[in-house]
Structures are given as structure tokens and as C-alpha cells.
Amino acid sequence: MNYYETLYIVHSALEAGRLKDIVLTVEESLKENGGQVVTTEVWGKKKLGYYIDKQKYGTYILIQFKSDGTKNNNFNLQMEHNPSILAYMTVKIEEDGIREQTEDLDSQIAGKEAKASRSATIAEDVKSDDAEESKDEPVAEDVKSDDAEESKDEPVAEDVKSDDAEESKDEPATEEKVEG
């Protein structure tokens, strides 16, 4: 028995439920062809290095399995005939290359979806922030006007100084009174 892995790209338009169906069908066809699934890893939606079937993005899924390799041709043929799979590649790996599956399939798909939606919302937020910033410009003007008001306040500070001066003038008078 040897270890193999298949990395395949699923159409990015497929959502969580349908994506899971595809993954399960692939695993079933693998079992039919004498394979024993070891690890399934969902990499999530990625930008492709080049267009495949006019698609710019795809969901990458890695499946590592144990098999004697005699029916791998059949498995590859089934992958080829699946219209939801844009591309696939099966390679032989060493036992050291086996990855441990930490999360189950559902949580992996849910996690990737959440991450994708989060990044989408962040992108939207950034856009809306830009729009708000353009709206915020009058606020910046307000700040400037505040500065202007502060500059108006400066004479008050001068008044305080003049008060001090008056006090200093008063001081000698008090001294005189003490003397008196």
C-alpha cells in the first residue's frame, strides 16, 4: 500500500452545502476504487494562477489517501468527468508527508466561509470608510475652525497676563499699607 494525495479545484460558485456534497462524492468514489481516506483539508477559495474554464477563482481541496494504486486511473477518470471540478492532480507521497486532520470537514468549510465573508465585509468596510472620509472633510474644517477659536482665545490669556500685571501693581500698595 502506498500513500497518494489529490489536490483538486472545485468551482468557486459552490456554497457550503454543495461543496460538502462534492467532497463526499469524491471520497466515495475513492473508496469504490480501493482507497482509504486519511486526511481531507479544505484550503478555501484562492485565486488561480491562470484561468481555468473562464474561472479566476477556485476552492482548493486536498485529500490524502492510502491505496495500492492499481485503480487510481479510474479515480482520476471520475474526477475528469465531474463538471464541478475544474482541475485535479494526484501524486504519490511519502508517509512523512501525511498531514494530521485537526478539524472535521464541516468546521473546515464553515471556517473558510466565515473567513471569506469576513474579508468581504472588511473590503466593504474599507470602501465605506473611504466614502465616510470624503464626508468627514467638513469635520476637518470644523477642527480648523476650532483652532481659529483657540487663536481667538489667546487674547484672553493676554488679559490674564494684564491682570497679573495689575496685581503686581497692587502689591506695592499693600506693602505700603503694612508699613503704614
Binding site: 494562477g49 477556485g58 482541475a87
Partner: protein, 76 residues
């Protein structure tokens, strides 16, 4: 992402922990030009043995669209 230096020691011989794997496509980008060509070993300092493995890994990554075959220099 070009990696050009005059180093004489192969980076993979120096550090055994680095695994040349097509799945580590972001690391492989170090050994490609901006247009997606593989940089020769005598430029990057990679030894012949590891350059062969690197080339295979890049070709696998290209096959599954993790890396591009070619990038238009106007878009690079």
C-alpha cells in the same frame, strides 16, 4: 520576488528543515522571476540536486494553477 545573491552554499543544504513541496507555492515564488520563469541555480545558489527538486515542485504547482505558467510583463 527575485532572489539574487552571490551565496555559494545552497539554502536547502544549509537548512534541512526547509521542505521543497509544490504545496508551499508561496515559498517557491522566491525562485521565480516576476514573469514566472524559474531562476537558474547558479544565480540563486541552489545546488543541482535541490534545483531538480525545485523545478519539479514548480512544475507541479503550475499544473494545479497554484503558480502561473507565464505572467505578462506589463502586468507583473
Amino acid at each position: 520576488m527575485t532572489f539574487i545573491s552571490n551565496r555559494k552554499v545552497c539554502i536547502f543544504c544549509e537548512n534541512n528543515e526547509i521542505v521543497i513541496d509544490y504545496k508551499e507555492y508561496k515559498y517557491l515564488r522566491k525562485f521565480l522571476t516576476e514573469t514566472g520563469k524559474i531562476i537558474p541555480g547558479h544565480v540563486t545558489g541552489v545546488c543541482a540536486k535541490h534545483q531538480r527538486r525545485l523545478t519539479n515542485a514548480v512544475k507541479r504547482a503550475r499544473n494545479i494553477a497554484l503558480l502561473p505558467y507565464a505572467v505578462d510583463p506589463r502586468n507583473a
